[in-house]
């Protein structure tokens, strides 16, 4: 997986700035780093664009620190889309739909957590301390990407900041919870990955039959809850049987951590 953060700023340009991606998309870039404040501005503009529906805009793709606005070049032109976006940036901040808080059960044991000991060793922490540091914070969903339904979550306590593994794994099982570069990801399906695998969740993050198919959305919050292996196995069996409901808690707009 490509790393999310550039190490240094190499441009003096003021943000936000507009970048063209050919003649089918404009990117509004709010900065260069992975940062909660920047991401909240991305999600604000995303909400404003979705509400305003400028002519010719086909879809939007919010990412860590930029919003890609895809348009039909036979319906509109970059200059028109840019004007519409500039106007939305200058108006009062759009009301972002308050995110939701998900309580995600994770088993941090044995074969479900093959990198946990290495992470503990590298960071100088005990296994229990690593788990505690991962289950304590409220994680923010920055974006969904890489594969369908995969959430990028942050930020990790600095004590857990690690580069990616030297060699990526060819196969990580579905539900893998992995950390690197100050972030956590959860792999919805079996896929390759270079992050440190510290646990697994039985929760289904992507269900083609659900609408929307992705469980989480940018702006949501996640709290990881440690479960023992036997509880995890029961949950996973329930998921297979289709009787493991996971429902989010709504967040009030003024609750700390929301983007409104």
């Amino acid at each position: 997986m490509p790393p999310p953060a550039a190490s240094t700023d190499i441009l003096p340009d003021p943000f936000p700035r507009f970048l063209s991606s050919g003649d089918t998309a404009l990117i509004v870039e709010f900065g260069r780093s992975v940062d909660r404040t920047l991401n909240e501005r991305v999600l604000e503009l995303d909400a404003a664009v979705r509400a305003a529906q400028p002519p010719g805009v086909v879809e939007t793709i919010p990412t860590f620190r930029s919003l890609m606005v895809v348009y039909d070049p036979l319906v509109t032109r970059a200059a028109e889309v840019r004007s519409a976006l500039a106007a939305l940036l200058n108006t009062s901040r759009a009301a972002v739909v308050a995110g939701r808080r998900w309580r995600v059960p994770v088993c941090y044991e044995g074969d479900l957590a093959p990198d946990l000991e290495a992470v503990a060793k590298t960071t100088g922490l005990s296994l229990g301390e690593v788990v505690a540091l991962h289950t304590t914070p409220v994680h923010h969903v920055y974006m969904i990407g890489f594969v369908a339904g995969l959430p990028y979550l942050g930020d990790l306590p600095t004590a857990l900041a690690l580069p990616r593994r030297a060699s990526p794994r060819v196969r990580l099982p579905a539900g893998s919870v992995a950390i690197a570069m100050g972030l956590t990801v959860i792999y919805p399906v079996e896929s390759p990955g270079g992050w440190h695998l510290i646990g697994n969740t039985p929760v289904t993050l992507f269900d083609p039959g659900r609408m929307p198919p992705a469980l989480m959305a940018p702006g949501d919050q996640v709290v990881f809850e440690m479960v023992q292996r036997d509880v995890f196995d029961d949950m996973r069996a329930a998921v297979v049987d289709g009787c493991f409901p996971i429902a989010p808690e709504p967040l009030a707009p003024d609750q700390p951590g929301t983007t409104a």
Partner: protein
């Protein structure tokens, strides 16, 4: 019985594709869709379908199919490869692409190696009776979603059809073809992250020739040639990707992203192919050389509009075939007028 097409041979990589699955990239769902949407539109027009009806996209070599419906009308577009239609006594008749053919129950057709392109589209009148997912029947093989069971066709597949018989009408033929501009540079707009590269890298991209490598697929054309140097590393915070983006990982070799690209990525994109040139990209075969030329966004927009006018002229050139008699292989055999009979056992056509 459900009308079907029986897949006797699948071809190299044959998938169901339409215009793609837009509107869900924010959840990580790739667009997919036909690499050559102009061929998709042409093939569908020839069989009387709406332009975006899901059809079979063929890569490199096409399938062999037996009709298990009362009758079915098909058309191949995006190539000049002929369709072999089985007549009497297992003799094969070659029928040109870019025109519709009506086939009867039990009749067999096959499309061999594509002679002039890496991709082509075979449309079926009425379309394939497959479930749409998120508004599209396009196959995204990497996640096993959409199309026919989320995968490329395999021998023995039975593709359900919406129609049990073809409409009774004259066959259609296209007099014109989309301009594929062979040998001319692929036009790009620099960026969105051209400022992550040295000036020499930009010069190299716009002057060197790049070869399409064997690792290319519907996700992207991997290019071999002079590496492109980054100013300060190849890592950016992951951001959105459009089809046609040229991303450059650490080793400096560009990857030209096609329809099955991921929705986000963490490598800088040095340039983006303009939308007027996107239908050309998937046509490139392994080993072919590509060159790039830069245009402005405004120029790209004008070129796209001109391309759309030209495509309309191609679609408007689709008219009833003047002499459709030879399109009926059975009649051809009886009248002994066959010009292109192909022996079923011809070895270079049976190595799929």
């Amino acid at each position: 019985m459900t009308p079907q097409l029986l897949v006797d041979q699948p071809g190299l990589h044959t998938t169901v594709q339409d215009f793609g699955r837009t509107g869900h990239q924010a959840f990580g769902v790739p667009v997919a869709g036909a690499l050559d949407p102009e061929a998709l539109r042409g093939a569908n027009r020839l069989v009387g379908n709406p332009d975006g009806t899901a059809a079979l996209e063929i890569l490199h070599a096409g399938p062999a199919i037996t009709v298990a419906a009362d009758s079915v009308r098909i058309a191949l577009a995006g190539t000049e490869t002929t369709i072999d239609v089985a007549g009497q006594n297992d003799a094969w008749v070659s029928v040109p692409a870019w025109q519709s053919i009506r086939l009867s129950h039990g009749q067999r057709v096959r499309i061999g190696r594509l002679v002039d392109t890496a991709c082509a589209v075979l449309a079926i009148e009425g379309g394939l009776d497959l479930p749409a997912w998120l508004g599209s029947r396009s196959t995204y093989v990497r996640a096993g979603m959409g199309g026919f069971r989320g995968r490329a066709l395999v021998a023995g597949d039975r593709l359900p059809l919406f129609r049990s018989s073809s409409t009774d009408r004259q066959e259609l033929r296209a007099a014109r073809r989309p301009d594929i501009a062979p040998g001319t540079p692929v036009r790009v707009v620099l960026g969105p992250q051209d400022d992550y590269f040295t000036a020499a890298a930009i010069d190299t991209l716009l002057s060197a020739a790049y070869k399409v490598s064997a690792q290319s697929d519907r996700m992207g054309l991997r290019l071999e040639g002079p590496p492109l140097a980054h100013l300060d590393g190849a890592d950016i915070a992951s951001d959105g990707i459009v089809t046609g983006a040229i991303q450059v990982p650490g080793a400096g070799l560009p990857i030209l992203l096609l329809n099955d690209h991921q929705t986000s990525g963490g490598y800088p994109k040095i340039a983006t192919v303009i939308s007027a040139d996107l239908p050309r990209l998937g046509r490139h075969r392994v080993g072919e050389m590509l060159r790039f030329a830069a245009v402005s966004v405004a120029e790209a927009e004008d070129l796209r509009r001109a391309r759309d006018v030209a495509l309309t002229e191609v679609l408007d050139s689709i008219t009833p075939a003047a002499n459709a008699g030879w399109l009926d292989p059975a009649a051809l055999h009886s009248e002994n007028l066959i010009s292109g009979v192909v022996d079923y056992s011809r070895p270079d056509d049976t190595d799929l």
